[in-house]
């Protein structure tokens, strides 16, 4: 395990950018590790992979990967990535984003990209808050959770990002959390392999932002919270109907996986038909 981590680091990480900006206990480093392992297991050519991002903690990830990385403006990574993909359809285009970047300022781009179904892999680190700016309420902050801009507790209903993606038409949607590294790697592999808009939501702790306001400052406590407050799709299916209806835990797993015509392939076919 350790050797593998060393190997992955040596192979894919841009050492000059190290150390990272991430706080102790932050889950974004895990996401980097899982993504690199997924790439490695799929044996993708890193020179044909492009990593796009907007602004926020998770959007700094392309900087740490020894590959083409395009770090753009807040909320716009998916629109930018759409341009890259349409101009160069043979590239594997990956977007790293966060809950604020994706579903707040970038919400419109998110749903339209899911609808359009160009082949993008979107990995969203959902940590329930705007971490980089110091822990403000976000579109995924749970009701009653405390944030610096919701000091008396959040009064708004959060988005379920996966249901939003499914509703908007994404053909592949999965959600995992810190407690499931191997499942997460599999999900990212599936997303990379999926021809179309593939969305992976990863619930990750933010000890210094969301955590400090909501009694999850200690990483171990945060991990425990994620363990206690999530249920796999498989386990949910094994509950009796009454228990299932009463479930309030966040469901993790592969939540949607269907075949749909991919946009750039459709465009190429259409041009061919002229």
């Amino acid at each position: 395990m350790f050797n593998k981590a060393e190997k992955i680091r040596e192979k894919y990480i841009r050492e000059e950018m190290w150390p990272s900006i991430f706080c102790t206990g932050c889950g974004i480093g895990n996401v980097l590790s899982y993504t690199m392992r997924a790439l490695d297991e799929l044996k993708l050519d890193i020179d044909r992979c492009v990593f796009c991002s907007g602004i926020g903690c998770s959007s700094r990830l392309p900087g740490y990967i020894e590959a083409d990385g395009l770090h753009t403006t807040h909320g716009r990574a998916i629109a930018f990535a759409t341009g890259v993909k349409l101009a160069a359809p043979d590239l594997n285009v990956v977007v790293f984003t966060g809950d604020g970047d994706l579903a707040g300022i970038g919400g419109n781009h998110f749903i339209h990209a899911a609808r359009r179904n160009a082949d993008l892999t979107v990995i969203c680190v959902n940590n329930f808050n705007y971490g980089m700016t110091g822990g403000q309420v976000s579109p995924t902050t749970p009701v009653a959770a405390v944030a610096t801009t919701a000091p008396y507790g959040n009064l708004e209903e959060p988005f379920d990002l996966c249901r939003l993606a499914i509703g908007a038409g994404a053909p592949y949607v999965a959600r995992w959390t810190v407690g499931y590294p191997y499942e997460t790697i599999e999900a990212i592999k599936n997303a990379l392999a999926k021809p179309g808009f593939a969305f992976v939501e990863l619930l990750m702790p933010c000890p210094t932002g969301y955590g400090k306001e909501n009694e999850q400052r200690e990483p171990a406590v945060a991990w425990q919270w994620y363990k206690e407050n999530t249920i796999t799709r498989g386990d949910l299916g094994r509950l009796d109907p009454e228990q299932r209806a009463a479930n309030r835990k966040i469901v993790v797993g592969t939540l949607w996986d269907v075949q749909k015509p991919e946009y750039t392939a459709r465009w190429a076919e259409f041009v061919q038909s002229l």
């Binding site: 990385g69 395009l70 753009t72 403006t73 629109a79 930018f80 341009g83 890259v84 349409l86 041009v271």
Partner: protein, 386 residues
């Protein structure tokens, strides 16, 4: 210098409106990617492109809004395409955020604004020239921009090609500031043979992977480009960055970067600026105009000359960068500048600044929805000359 691809060029004499001529200019320039969003009075540009581009090789995509449109063209440029987006006032406002990104990432791209009356939704189907200052200053922070102002469908064609050439040469967003009148005015447009159309090619790096620094520059201050997926493994960021493209939060790196982003254009102002002068040799009064207003001004200047007044005409084809040195020198030898604009006084502020009291500056504003009455310009000339 490269030549246009004959497959993209509709050589011949056509009867086209300015919007359609602009599309043909983009195609002649080798534009193979437009992302756009419908907005009057610019929509005809993208409609024609959507019909034409699949047959010649390239992509059109209608995005969800103008923010996505400008952002997608920047991504496509880094993916290797020659790119443009098209809009009008309200969409231009939405694009400002990522026009700044285009300037910061030094991304060659063309932005067409078919101006209408504002502010806000204003006069969707009627003319305005009130986005001229927004073109220069609309995004936050210090940067320079290039903006051109055609006065006819013919120039909508030729200046769109020129916009692409300048975007590639200086690696910067270039704006084509059309207006509703020219966009919807139909006139003869002559499209030349492809081999007579000169195109500036993107200057790609000749460095092998491992040696390329995305923002390293030589004397001309313009970095060489590499597209995504070419093996260079580069990083680029909207944050203040060094020549490697890595973010650096320091006053020193900020100073170096911002000066270069501005100076690569400022220092080449004389080379970039295109203007047309007429009868300036003995002029006491100069009518300075751009876009559709210069056609009205021409009528007024002709009438004034018939009356024996010493009046000349100066038309700016390039509105940004502003020809500061030229106006300063001209101000030394004329009595007055008369500046008709379809706004409440925008470019006139630049004229006034450069004239610096050496010549009088007279604004003739029009709030939009129509062009000036030539008689109003004539009257201003007469008053200035007396």
């Amino acid at each position: 210098m490269a030549r246009a691809d004959p497959g993209h060029v509709l050589t011949g004499s056509h009867y086209l409106d300015g919007d359609h001529a602009c599309t043909e200019g983009a195609l002649s320039a080798g534009c193979n990617f437009i992302a756009g969003y419908p907005i009057t009075p610019s929509t005809e540009v993208v409609e024609r492109f959507a019909r034409r581009i699949p047959t010649v090789g390239g992509t059109f995509i209608q995005m969800e809004d103008e923010i996505a449109s400008i952002t997608a063209i920047l991504g496509a440029a880094w993916g290797g395409a020659k790119v443009m987006t098209v809009t009008s006032g309200p969409g231009f406002s939405l694009m400002m955020e990522n026009i700044g990104l285009g300037a910061m990432l030094e991304t060659p791209c063309v932005i067409v604004n078919v101006q209408r009356g504002g502010p806000s939704t204003g006069l969707p189907t009627m003319v305005g020239q009130a986005d001229i200052m927004q073109a220069r200053w609309g995004s936050h922070g210090d940067y320079e921009i290039i903006a051109l102002a055609p006065q006819s469908p013919q120039e909508a064609y030729t200046l769109t090609i020129e916009a692409f050439n300048l975007a590639e040469k200086y690696r910067t967003p270039v704006m084509v500031m059309l207006d509703e009148c020219i966009g919807h005015m139909t006139e003869k447009v002559v499209i030349p043979e492809a081999d007579s159309i000169e195109l500036t090619e993107r200057r790609k790096t000749d460095k092998p992977p491992g040696e390329y620094l995305p923002f390293a520059v030589g004397e001309d201050m313009i970095p060489d480009m590499a597209h995504a997926g070419e093996g260079h493994r580069y990083h680029i960021t909207s944050l203040t960055h060094d020549e490697q493209g890595y973010p650096v939060m320091s006053a020193e790196v900020q100073d170096k970067l911002v000066r270069r982003l501005c100076d690569k254009i400022r220092n080449n102002t004389d080379e970039i600026v295109m203007l047309e002068e007429d009868g300036l040799d003995d002029a006491d009064v100069v009518v300075l105009s751009y876009g559709i207003t210069s056609r009205v001004a021409r009528a007024a200047v002709d009438d004034a000359r018939e009356k024996g007044l010493k009046v000349g005409r100066l038309r700016l084809l390039t509105v940004w960068p502003f020809p500061e040195r030229y106006i300063r020198e001209l101000a030394e030898r004329v009595k007055a500048f008369v500046v008709p604009e379809i706004n409440y006084g925008q470019l006139v502020l630049e004229v006034e600044r450069c004239a610096a009291g050496r010549a009088q500056t007279i604004l003739l504003p029009h709030m939009g929805g129509d062009v000036h009455d030539p008689a109003v310009i004539l009257q201003a000339i007469e008053e200035a000359a007396s």
